[in-house]
């Protein structure tokens, strides 16, 4: 559970720092009248609610993935654990997802430059790359199954399907949002109508890409050392 512990320390520090900046040291019983701590009063526009919502959701999803990682490292200790060879297509998929994420960031820059046409093109390309990634993941599943690495035959295989499946479902949810962004961008006359949603998609994609890199390290055996460290810490 030390993976979880690290994640939790991170979340707790962010929360405590945020609260400290929001004035939990104030003495509200002494202060009366309008106060100047309204975000607008400092001349800063508050971030859109959807962005805050997404950040909170990323904390939840991060929690989910770190718990899965914690379970992965704990289960790994058993003698029956036999890591399957990671299908080679995973490396291709990694490049596809990186491309998809990079294209979204390019779309975000296009939105900042007020260029509607490149924005649409980059959104579609990014969506296509993400769909290709999902297709590639399914291919990896098929390859695993074809070689006889079934979920029931070994916990390592089961974790392979569980981790990639959870990640794919999250990306699929992101694709729904991306489709909406694209739909809105098609009908939009100004980038301001889609600026926020493109921004949110870009953040979400970066998150999923980082999660995927960590997952890839776990599945390809690159993170075995981390498991050993975790066990040392616990033992």
């Amino acid at each position: 559970m030390s993976v979880m512990g690290l994640f939790f320390v991170f979340i707790a520090s962010v929360a405590v720092l945020y609260l400290a900046r929001q004035g939990v040291m104030q003495s509200p019983w002494l202060e009366e009248g309008e106060v100047a701590t309204h975000p607008d009063a400092r001349g800063l526009a508050p971030p859109p609610a959807a962005k805050v919502g997404l950040i909170v959701f990323l904390a939840v999803a991060g929690c989910l993935f770190s718990l899965l990682a914690a379970a992965f490292f704990m289960r790994m200790e058993s003698a029956d654990w036999r890591s399957p060879p990671a299908p080679a297509i995973l490396w291709v998929n990694t490049v596809t997802l990186a491309l998809s994420s990079a294209l979204l960031h390019a779309a975000k820059r296009a939105a900042q430059r007020d260029a509607l046409q490149p924005l649409r093109a980059r959104l579609s390309a990014s969506g296509a790359a993400a769909a290709l990634f999902l297709f590639g993941q399914m291919w990896a599943w098929r390859e695993m199954a074809a070689q006889g690495f079934y979920a029931a035959s070994n916990p390592a295989n089961a974790f392979f399907y569980l981790l990639t499946g959870t990640h794919a479902l999250h990306l699929f949810g992101g694709l729904v949002a991306l489709a909406r962004a694209l739909d809105r961008a098609r009908g939009a006359t100004s980038v301001h109508e889609v600026e926020t949603i493109v921004d949110l998609c870009a953040i979400y994609w970066s998150f999923l890409f980082v999660v995927w890199l960590a997952m890839l390290a776990m599945l390809s055996g690159g993170a075995d050392g981390l498991g050993v460290i975790c066990r040392r810490l616990l033992a």
Binding site: M4, A15, V16, P28, L64, L67, A71, D80
Partner: protein
């Protein structure tokens, strides 16, 4: 107020909203079924939670009747007993308490108390309720599935939860796990709303430190729930895969009826870690909203500002953080490294500090206050006593060496019922009596309310106090039948009869509450906008019950904290949060 603050204030956008129309539902379906108004969703959540909670109450009677009169009712066999224990626990903890505190009170009170027109994502909020309802239906469906609901105990520990011989092994466990996964998805949608509304939706002047403690409690609980429920989600999904696909995440090598299982090496302890990573914060997910509401109840009905508001906020945050790192104290007897036990005992006992701080502050708020013994106040005081009681036995169980002999006895049952059963439920009742006038525009009957309080409060003590004694005697929990043992004296059986009779009485007494609830809807005294003369924003709405959009054309502006009671020089003994600052003449 300084000039600088005024100048800054000038930059704040006006609180008017032109598109108030947006908040009006168009048509019957959007008004009464797929409603996006948080207040209506709150009622839907509460109604569903109470309905399924009544089923759980029925289950508790089945348990109690079997314990007092073993075998007296032929229908209650061992399977039914274990199914009842499981469903009672799971429904009460997750589907009633969590849902009613966050989905019910959270939805009703957060937007009103922070001065928002609605939750920030009303559509997601509506979806949250419907997914919750689906989860409840899936859970209830297990009663009609072959083999009935699961009887694995509410902790659903593998391997026994999915082995043959456990009731509900065929469908019950699958439906239970699916229902939990749905509940968590639905809750996450709602939880995002509660958190983001508090962060983003506050009206002008409502700083975090001016929020009523109710909002603080619900906010902290929602954050904790968002972070803790993934633990249960992961555990449920993995157990579901073990059950359906035959994976061995949790399933060790097992010899069952002389046959070796295909699974090997799985770790039941891993499940316990994941489950309790959710399970312990869950206690505080239920307790923190109760803490918050009880603070507001006490301040309002004692006409005094809450003692140590800032400490109360810090204590809520501290409890929230600490409660995420204490889950191991549920696993003292699972066999772990002694240093682990040491660590978890220390963190567990450390929670006593912020918790005790809150109790002191409540008591000091009451000290020399103008206490009105209204029904909500009685329930708040009942909570205070009960929570201290349950908290003290928690100190015993938090110590490893004391926990080991008491583990799996009735002492544990008594402890957690006091601290997270009776105490939060007393707050729920108090809160319903308190906010009912705002929700319906009518007062509840005080006499019936007081009768309800005394029967419930004294009855709950008659039920759970003797259980501590049974636990110390060594009476084990979860046992279908005690039979004859060398160490349990026959008097324990007599005590069991007393407890059961009281449980039946208290259960039936709740009909007084429901009678009051429905009768007052029509015949209750008209309440007016602010019957308790309270300061917080929900009592200052132009209409009662508040209309769509909550505050009419103009959002309120907040000038002070939520506890301005008996301010010297004020015209009345309370100052609403949105009343303009007192003039100099008032102050002199």
């Amino acid at each position: 107020m300084t000039d600088a603050a005024l100048e800054h204030g000038a930059g704040v956008p006006t609180a008017e909203v032109e598109e108030l129309e947006l908040y009006h539902p168009h048509g019957w379906i959007t008004k009464y079924v797929f409603c996006q108004d948080a207040k209506y969703i709150a009622l839907q959540y509460s109604g569903t939670a109470i309905a399924i909670g009544l089923l759980a109450l029925l289950m508790s009677w089945v348990i109690r009747i079997q314990l007092a009169f073993p075998g007296a009712i032929p229908f209650i066999d061992a399977n039914v007993y274990y199914q009842s224990v499981t469903m009672h626990g799971m429904i009460m903890v997750v589907y009633l308490l969590t849902a009613i505190f966050l989905g019910g009170f959270g939805n009703y009170l957060i937007p009103l108390m922070v001065g928002a027109r609605d939750m920030v994502f009303p559509f997601v909020n509506m979806l949250s309720y419907w997914v919750y309802l689906l989860a409840v239906i899936v859970l209830a469906a297990s009663y009609f599935a072959p083999g009935g609901p699961t009887g694995a105990g509410w902790t659903l520990y593998p391997p026994q939860a999915i082995l043959s011989g456990t009731p509900g092994r065929e469908w019950g466990i699958i439906l239970m796990l699916a229902s939990l996964a749905l509940f968590i998805i639905g809750f996450t949608m709602g939880g995002l709303n509660y958190v983001v509304t508090v962060l983003q939706g506050r009206t002008r002047g409502m700083t975090l430190m001016r929020m009523p403690l109710t909002v603080w409690g619900i906010f902290a609980a929602a954050v904790m729930a968002l972070l803790a429920f993934p633990g249960l989600f992961v555990a449920a999904v993995m157990l579901l895969l073990d059950r359906t696909l035959g994976t061995s995440f949790f399933m060790p090598a097992i010899v069952e009826f002389g046959e070796h299982s295909k699974t090997q090496g799985g770790s039941p302890i891993l499940f316990q870690h994941l489950f309790w990573f959710f399970g312990h914060p869950e206690v505080y997910i239920v307790a923190l909203p109760a803490f918050g509401m009880v603070s507001d109840l006490i301040a309002t009905h004692a006409r005094k500002n809450i003692f140590g508001y800032r400490m109360m906020v810090w204590a809520i945050v501290a409890i929230g953080v600490l409660s995420m790192i204490v889950w191991g104290h549920h696993m003292y007897v699972s066999g772990m490294d002694p240093w682990f036990g040491f660590f978890f005992a220390v963190t567990t006992l450390a929670i006593a500090v912020p918790t005790a701080l809150k109790v002191y502050n409540w008591v000091l708020t009451l000290w020399r206050a103008d206490i009105h013994f209204t029904t909500p106040m009685l329930f708040a005081l009942g909570f205070l006593v009960t929570f201290v009681n349950g908290g003290l036995t928690g100190l015993y169980l938090g110590n490893v060496i004391v926990d080991v002999p008491l583990s799996a006895t009735m002492f544990v049952v008594a402890h957690f019922h006091m601290v997270m059963g009776v105490a939060p439920i007393l707050v729920i009742f108090g809160a319903i009596y308190h906010w009912y006038p705002k929700i319906t525009g009518r007062m509840m009957d005080e006499t019936l309310g007081k009768i309800h309080f005394w029967i419930t409060f004294l009855g709950a003590y008659a039920i759970f106090f003797p259980m501590h004694y049974l636990g110390v005697l060594g009476v084990p929990r979860r046992f279908y039948e005690l039979g004859e043992t060398a160490f349990v004296p026959p008097s324990a059986a007599t005590l069991n009869v007393v407890i059961t009779v009281m449980a039946l009485i208290v259960g039936f007494a709740q009909s007084i509450f429901f009678l009051n609830l429905f009768k007052s809807l029509k015949y209750g005294k008209p309440a007016g906008g602010n019957p308790w003369r309270a300061t917080t924003l929900e009592w200052q709405t132009p209409e009662t019950p508040p209309g769509h959009g909550n505050f009419g054309p103009k959002l309120p502006i907040v000038y002070r904290w939520a506890y301005a009671y008996n301010v010297p020089g004020a015209p009345e003994d309370y100052l609403p949060q949105n009343a303009p600052p007192l003039t100099v003449e008032h102050r002199s």
